[in-house]
């Protein structure tokens, strides 16, 4: 399970590193679309768009389904959720660590103030 998600993270970060692919995700967030629709929207060739969608699909961010001649793309959120969860978990660790640091610094400030009064 843990090992699986490594490959997933890897593919997702690669997929998200491109502005067009992020745009495609945004578009699919609004509504499902065919490869042709997306190619028109982003003013690129069908082959170019298929390549982008392929990378998003590998990362599990997008799923596609071919009905007749039309391949429809929709958002697949599973991998993205995993990454968001990991980063949030890591953030929480650092948040609680730094919350404790805040307390230690508060204590130092208080001590310094008290020492100042004594002088």
């Amino acid at each position: 399970m843990v090992k699986c998600s490594t490959a997933g993270l890897d593919a997702s970060f690669t997929a998200l590193s491109d502005a067009t692919r992020r745009g495609v995700l945004e578009q699919l967030g609004r509504s499902d679309a065919s490869i042709t629709d997306l190619a028109d929207k982003f003013q690129m060739t069908l082959a170019g768009m298929m390549k982008h969608v392929g990378i998003l699909e590998q990362a599990g961010l997008v799923t596609t389904e071919k009905v007749g001649r039309v391949r429809t793309c929709k958002l697949g959120t599973r991998r993205l959720d995993e990454e968001t969860a990991w980063l949030e978990q890591h953030r929480q660790l650092w948040e609680s660590r730094f919350d404790e640091l805040d307390k230690v610094v508060d204590e130092l400030k208080r001590k310094e103030k008290n020492n100042g009064r004594k002088k």
Binding site: R91, E95, R97, E100, V104, V105
Partner: protein
């Protein structure tokens, strides 16, 4: 109403951000409510460092903490999770500029560990901390991302179970 406001983080919380800046780099930022002089002291004095580096919520106990926070100095932290074998984290300080920057290695993972840089910047009596964890390769960071999912939480719940048994 009260219950809701309690469960939601106050605006002063959530000041910590974590971002994967590149294939092999994580950046963590936080503003600490104190001048850089004191924040650096809390970081560089082992007895103070030991008070905050291992928050209780993580479920780890800090068994020992030795740190010689000088350029070329070394550190060694030993943790225990419940009754498990202690784990040691160690490395050396590549660069220490008082009240400005600390750079250290994480050698327990041999060649896969990151080099961590924390910079201290004072702004209006507060200190902005920017931590960069730079991994030797994309694979090393990916592995870390995966292992980060493991935690001490299960053991903590075991401990809680034991406590409840005793209490009952």
């Amino acid at each position: 109403m009260d219950a809701r406001s309690e469960s939601q983080p106050t605006p002063t919380k959530s000041r910590t951000t974590v971002e994967r800046k590149s294939e092999r780099e994580l950046v963590i930022t936080r503003t600490v409510n104190g001048p850089v002089r004191l924040v650096f002291e809390a970081w560089a004095k082992p007895e103070l460092f030991a008070q905050w580096w291992v928050p209780k919520s993580v479920g780890l106990t800090l068994v020992s903490c030795e740190a010689d926070v000088r350029t070329g100095g070394q550190y060694r932290l030993v943790f225990r999770c419940g009754d498990s074998e202690p784990m040691a984290f160690f490395g050396r300080y590549i660069e220490v500029i008082p009240q400005a920057r600390i750079v250290w290695t994480n050698d327990e993972a041999e060649d896969a560990g990151p080099v961590t840089t924390v910079s201290f910047e004072e702004k209006g009596g507060k200190t902005l901390l920017v931590m960069q964890e730079l991994y030797p390769s994309k694979e090393a960071l990916d592995a870390e991302l995966a292992s980060g999912a493991k935690s001490c939480v299960d053991e903590t719940f075991d401990q809680l179970d034991d406590l409840l048994l005793v209490a009952a």
